[in-house]
């Protein structure tokens, strides 16, 4: 527990003090959202139709941008090896890192995304659902992405490779998230895709955190 809290506190502090690394994905999200809304012109119907897929996809890419830095700083300065040395501290430390990462990317993305949705003329109820599905979906992105980030940690050209590896795995989450919002938007049955999203989340929470430390350890000592 001590390790958990210390790592969490440290990661949040580092993020607040360095700033730009955390803010960049969010600025990216707003910028891409705005550009999409801009190029669609004054066609109201088209905007309302494309709003949810565009915002969800942009949120996914913003999350992806942040993933690469999940373990990079610790790898570069060598603290990652220290964290992983002791068996008891490896799990709480990696879980803390995952939670800190979500608090710094997934959460702000989920809060910001509805604001961009406003620009697409979506209704308030739809924006609520959009935010809700992002709150369920972004932890999955962080968890699944963490596997990819752990695999490519320490490789020089990790960025594009990481995108290549995890993007196919993100597709079900993206489709279910967009599906839920759109079913709601058009007054159709939106519970089944929502349950699918929750099922993936519970599966990911169960299986992934315990497997990150062994993967990182292997990437370390080879």
């Amino acid at each position: 527990m001590k390790v958990f809290l210390a790592t969490l506190r440290r990661d949040l502090l580092v993020a607040i003090r360095t700033g730009s690394e955390t803010l960049n994905p969010l600025v990216f999200l707003v910028l891409v959202g705005v550009i999409f809304a801009l190029v669609l012109g004054n066609d109201h119907a088209a905007r309302e139709l494309t709003g949810i897929p565009v915002v969800w996809t942009t949120a996914l890419f913003a999350n992806m941008l942040a993933l690469e830095g999940l373990f990079r700083r610790e790898q570069d300065e060598g603290t990652l090896a220290t964290i992983l040395v002791a068996n008891e501290s490896a799990l709480p430390a990696t879980v803390a890192k995952l939670i800190a990462h979500w608090l710094l990317t997934g959460l702000p993305i989920s809060v910001l995304a509805p604001l961009i949705g406003l620009g697409f003329g979506l209704s308030f109820e739809t924006l609520g659902i959009l935010s809700g599905t992002l709150l369920i979906g972004t932890p999955i992105l962080t968890l699944v992405g963490a596997i990819g980030a752990a695999l490519v940690v320490g490789l020089g050209r990790g960025g594009v490779l990481l995108t290549l590896l995890v993007l196919p795995l993100f597709v079900p989450v993206l489709l279910l998230g967009i599906g839920t919002c759109q079913q709601f938007q058009f007054n159709a049955e939106y519970i089944p895709p929502l349950l699918g999203l929750l099922a993936i989340l519970s599966g990911a929470i169960t299986a992934i955190p315990i497997s990150i430390a062994p993967i990182l350890r292997f990437s370390q000592d080879q």
Binding site: I147, L161, L164, L165, P168, V171, F218, S219
Partner: protein, 237 residues
């Protein structure tokens, strides 16, 4: 298994698998393309089935094989499991590409469009990118042990896509038809079409096994190029 025994023992297998596979594929394809009567609703376009079904089936089987090899590698650190993964990934990429291409060509006359974004097509497209990820990750990691481990993890995580492909036609509303041939029920395809199709599927299995085995032989040779038996082998022939 020691690489040397594998290398010496597998040559005959490669020849046999290639021979039977190519003969079987020629038999099934010629039978299917020229001697089977046209189908009642689709006319002649259904003949793409004789390529499409084996390719689509084998792509999934190859991925399952890679995922199983990934588990074997992580648990027992078997080197041959890694060799298998390295040899099978490009083959899987090609069979998946073939399945997608033949599906596109078949879609135009029967569905009226080249491509539909539904569960089956998307999940097979994801399979294509998973194979690509396998190859890309292996090339990016320079140390062989780390590459093998990383590729294994990726294969296991990606295996979640296989049941999605399998059941995508039953869980979701899609244009793609459900499976016509199953082990438990009587086939929904008439015998006239079924026999050449089964010949082609079986021969495709055999042929692909030969291709993967040949690829594994090359990799074994390359990875052990500094051992005496490889140098003796390459020097003597």
């Amino acid at each position: 298994m020691s690489p040397e025994i594998f290398f010496r023992g597998s040559l005959m297998w490669v020849y046999c698998l290639y021979l039977i596979g190519i003969l079987g594929l020629s038999l099934g394809t010629i039978w299917g393309l020229f001697f089977v009567p046209p189908e009642k609703f689709q006319g002649d376009s259904f003949r793409i089935m004789f390529i499409h079904v084996p390719a689509a089936h084998l792509s999934q089987i190859i991925y399952i094989g890679i995922a199983v090899a990934g588990v074997v590698y992580i648990v027992w650190r078997t080197k041959m499991a890694d060799v298998f993964m390295a040899a099978a990934a490009p083959v899987g990429l090609i069979t998946t590409g073939l399945a997608l291409l033949s599906g596109i060509v078949w879609g135009k006359p029967t569905w009226g469009t080249w491509w539909v974004w539904d569960a089956r097509t998307i999940s097979v497209l994801i399979l294509f990118f998973l194979f690509f990820g396998q190859i890309a990750l292996r090339q990016a990691v320079s140390r062989p042990e780390r590459a093998a481990f990383a590729v294994s993890v990726l294969a296991i995580v990606g295996a979640i896509n296989i049941p999605i492909i399998k059941y995508s036609v039953e869980w979701f509303t899609t244009l793609h038809q459900p499976a016509s041939i199953t082990l438990t029920r009587e086939s929904a395809i008439s015998m006239v079409f079924l026999i050449p199709l089964l010949i082609n599927i079986a021969s495709f299995y055999i042929y692909i096994a030969g291709v993967v085995l040949a690829g594994m032989r090359t990799l074994v040779l390359r990875r052990h190029k500094h051992t005496s038996w490889v140098q003796a082998w390459t020097g003597s022939s």
